[in-house]
């Protein structure tokens, strides 16, 4: 009885911990940025939405070309726009109208571009359906598979029974 309790205690405690974790996570709030860093944080959030168009394909602030003719002026434009009092969304809209949709690091989730977002999960879902049907079919085949019979099977069964009997003794 004692060993049984010990065996299942961790399972119950694990559920308790998971619940506590969920509560902690649900209460999680992002740390408030200090006033001195507010401008910089806003700049980082906006630049993270864009990708450099010099050919490197890296995020705007991560272009590896040190004298990049695209990322450096665009970052300056973003700083200037934020300094002029525009909201982050307004700056993003302004940059998209200025440089085109290609400058966004991820396609907007609307129209045809919605396909980019949903297709991986549609693929995963389709895969799940296929795997489920495959498993069901295989399981059915497993049930229908004839159990071994004949003299050889009987001989092995006798050996197994004999060994179990000896073990028991």
């Amino acid at each position: 009885m004692r060993s049984r309790l010990n065996r299942f205690a961790p399972a119950r405690m694990a559920w308790g911990l998971a619940l506590a974790l969920l509560l902690l996570a649900s209460r999680a709030t992002p740390q408030a940025a200090g006033p001195a860093r507010a401008g910089e944080e806003s700049f980082k959030r906006v630049t993270a939405k864009f990708v450099c168009q010099c050919g490197c394909n890296y995020p705007l602030g991560a272009c590896p070309h040190q004298d990049c003719g695209f990322s450096i002026p665009m970052q300056q434009n973003i700083r200037a726009a934020l300094a002029s009092g525009l909201s982050e969304q307004q700056v993003i809209d302004q940059m998209v109208s200025q440089y085109g949709l290609a400058v966004l690091a991820a396609p907007p989730a609307r129209g045809f571009n919605l396909m980019a977002w949903i297709m991986p999960f549609v693929g995963l879902l389709a895969g799940l359906v296929i795997v489920r049907s495959v498993m069901v079919a295989w399981r059915r085949r497993g049930r229908l598979a004839p159990s071994p019979s004949g003299p050889l099977a009987e001989k092995y069964q006798r050996t197994i029974d004999e060994e179990f009997r000896q073990l028991g003794e």
Partner: protein, 685 residues
């Protein structure tokens, strides 16, 4: 020298075509001499491409700038070390290098298997050679027609072509002048190209309708080695991006990075599902699809890097080789599909499942998740091309997309890494599942709550860390249980028991070590959620703080040598008022290529990297702009890479149990031979 190289490539192409033709003819007409001729032609192809590579290396080392590939990627002031690496830094040289590595793989296959008398292999070999040589012919066509590495400059000013000899070369791309770049491409190529071998054996088995799993056993090590090289190549590429590109990260979901990840994902799926075929004769069609998919994704990755279809910091210049690749991939996929479909009857397998809760089910889910990740990466990589074709609007699919789509998929995969080993083949009872799961979940939960109390409140890193601890606990439990049994039966200590256990089933325990390496990599990736970054203008003597350190700009120095001129900042690092280190970030100007780069200064520690970039000069012309990153846990990614390599090497070691069985079989065969000889002798007497 360039004429010798050119001629060698042309002859290699002719012999490659000859090898394909005579190998197939030899197999169809059952002419051993033709088959042998095909094998010898494959050896000759390797020798000829080796001559071509030696010629190009010689031209690079001797600054023969009349050759376009030399002048475009080297210069007189380039250190010898990098002149050698210039071989694979350009389009033409790297394709030649590809060809050469493939020919070496083919040579190894011929040398290892030509003397084997096993009927099953003897029947396969001509087709294996034909498939290897068909791939070789494709690359030799590129080497000869589309990207000849021995093209020379011609001066057309006088109306007739005259040899033009530039005074110096344009130099090697500064981003490539880094020691890791000398080993990263060869290792990545060894991974890409290595998958040609299992593909060749798989196709040969299909074409000949060979029964059984012989080709799977034969190619197991080739697959493991290729997968190991590909893993190393991908991680070395990430390390190069981290240390050289200076943006503080190591994976930007760039199309070329994605191109190397996709065959890795399908190759990993294949390594898992192939166990189902070996152990239970299941998933034969699926394994064929995976081995074909991995091969074509390797070719596709090479195509993406070189065709100019997508833009990338890693990509080679646009060139006319795109249509060649597109044609080869289309024809190859069509041919493989036809061969597969026409032989589906031979691939019929005994697919049956005893229970939904079994190792077999976990492998199915593992394959599903790996393939879903591969599809997500492929879809995101190609969506801009699709969007432009459909909407006429160019869009970008970058890191935010890939992170959002792949994080849940990756976490589910990590979960399966922990669950898989706990499930038994055929059937797992709920009782044993509870017993095996309880402690790992409990330990994972405790670790996560502790982290949450310590202030980690972001959900994705918390889930990653929970799963990482859970998987580690399951793996440790597996090692512990096995070692305990051995320890009870023998006089060995814990370490001895663990070594003995691992040697008994190197594949299984090597696999667990690889899983642990992946856990470390996941922890490293989770750490990136807590990266800090600051960009500041600093005068000599000024200071800034980040990641618990105070950084003081102590000096700004100038460096000048034949290859580059540089500005170097001396940054003193203080922790709790004490000087703990000095860092030297540089900003270089390479004279030959006239390009500016940064040399990142990194203080690597397991808990946190301090990553300092000399971003440029401030507007006042005196102060410097420093970009500083505090990257927690990033080193766990590289440590995980080492562990994965260790696990791969372990899995490649021969099993003690298998060795004993082989020795027993050999002894039995010797005994049977001796008995037969005795009987024969007695009859004759």
């Amino acid at each position: 020298m360039e004429q010798i190289g050119s001629f060698a490539l042309l002859l290699a192409l002719a012999l490659g075509i000859y090898s394909v033709v005579v190998s197939v003819l030899g197999a169809r007409r059952e002419k051993p001499l033709l088959q042998e001729s095909g094998e010898r032609a494959a050896i000759a192809v390797c020798l000829l491409i080796t001559v071509a590579v030696a010629c190009l290396v010689s031209l690079l080392l001797r600054d023969q700038f009349q050759v376009a590939a030399v002048s475009a990627h080297s210069n007189r002031a380039l250190p010898l070390f990098y002149k050698f690496a210039a071989l694979w830094s350009g389009q033409e040289g790297s394709l030649l290098f590809w060809s050469w590595l493939l020919s070496v793989y083919s040579l190894l296959v011929v040398v290892i298997y030509r003397r084997r008398q096993e009927a099953s292999l003897a029947g396969l070999m001509p087709y294996v050679i034909a498939v290897l040589m068909a791939t070789q012919v494709f690359f030799l066509l590129l080497n000869n027609l589309a990207a000849n590495p021995f093209s020379i400059w011609a001066d057309m000013s006088a109306g007739v072509p005259r040899l033009f000899l530039p005074a110096d070369g344009s130099g090697l791309n500064p981003l490539l002048q880094y020691p890791l770049m000398v080993i990263h491409p060869p290792i990545l190529y060894l991974g890409y190209i290595g998958f040609v071998v299992p593909f060749a054996f798989g196709m040969a088995a299909l074409i000949t309708r060979q029964k059984g799993e012989r080709w799977i056993y034969t190619t197991r090590r080739w697959t493991m080695v290729s997968w190991g090289f590909l893993t190393c190549g991908v991680l070395l590429g990430a390390r190069w991006a981290y240390v050289v590109l200076g943006w503080g990260g190591y994976w930007g979901w760039d199309p070329v990075e994605n191109a190397s990840l996709m065959p890795w994902l399908t190759g990993t799926a294949y390594l898992h599902s192939v166990m189902m075929q070996e152990k239970k004769g299941m998933m034969k069609v699926w394994n064929m699809v995976l081995v074909m998919g991995t091969y074509f994704l390797c070719i596709f990755g090479t195509f993406l890097t070189r065709s100019g279809v997508v833009s990338s910091v890693h990509a080679f210049a646009q060139s006319p080789i795109g249509p060649y690749f597109a044609t080869y991939i289309t024809l190859g996929v069509a041919f493989s599909a036809v061969v597969l479909v026409t032989r589906l009857d031979y691939l019929k397998s005994e697919n049956q499942l005893d229970s939904f809760l079994s190792r077999e089910s976990s492998f199915l889910f593992n394959n599903l998740i790996l393939l879903a990740a591969c599809f997500a990466v492929l879809w995101g990589t190609l969506f801009p091309v699709l969007s432009e074709a459909v909407q006429g609007v160019k869009i970008t699919v970058g890191a935010p997309y890939f992170n959002k789509v792949n994080i849940p998929i990756g976490l589910f995969l990590l979960f399966l890494t922990g669950v898989g080993p706990l499930l038994a083949w055929r059937k797992t009872s709920l009782e044993s599942l509870k017993r095996n799961f309880a402690w790992p979940i409990f330990i994972g939960g405790v670790a996560t709550v502790v982290l949450a109390i310590l202030g980690v409140r972001k959900l994705a890193p918390l889930v990653t860390l929970f799963l990482s601890v859970f998987v580690t606990a399951t793996l440790m439990a597996e090692f512990y249980r096995g070692a305990r049994v051995i320890r009870q039966k023998s006089q060995l200590g814990w370490v001895g028991s663990l070594v003995h256990l691992t040697r008994r089933n190197t594949r299984r325990y090597g696999g667990y070590i690889i899983h642990f390496g992946m856990v470390l990599i996941f922890i490293g990736i989770a750490g990136s959620a807590f990266n800090e970054e600051k960009q500041v203008e600093m005068a000599v003597g000024s200071a800034m703080e980040i990641g618990g350190f105070k950084l003081v700009c102590a000096n700004i120095e100038q460096i000048d040598n034949a290859n580059y001129a540089a500005g170097r900042a001396v940054i003193e690092l203080y922790q709790e008022g004490k000087l703990v280190d000095r860092l030297y970030p540089e900003r270089r100007f390479y004279k030959a290529s006239r390009q500016t780069t940064t040399e990142v200064a990194i203080r690597p520690r397991p808990a946190q990297d301090l990553y300092v970039v000399f971003a440029g000069m401030a507007d006042n012309g005196r102060d410097i702009v420093l970009q500083v990153f505090a990257n927690p846990l990033v080193n766990w990614v590289w440590m995980g890479g080492f562990v994965v390599v260790l696990g791969t090497l372990t899995a490649l070691l021969p099993n003690k149990a298998a060795e004993a069985i082989r020795a027993q079989a050999a002894e039995q065969a010797r005994g049977e031979r001796a008995t037969r000889a005795e009987s024969k002798h007695a009859i004759q007497a």
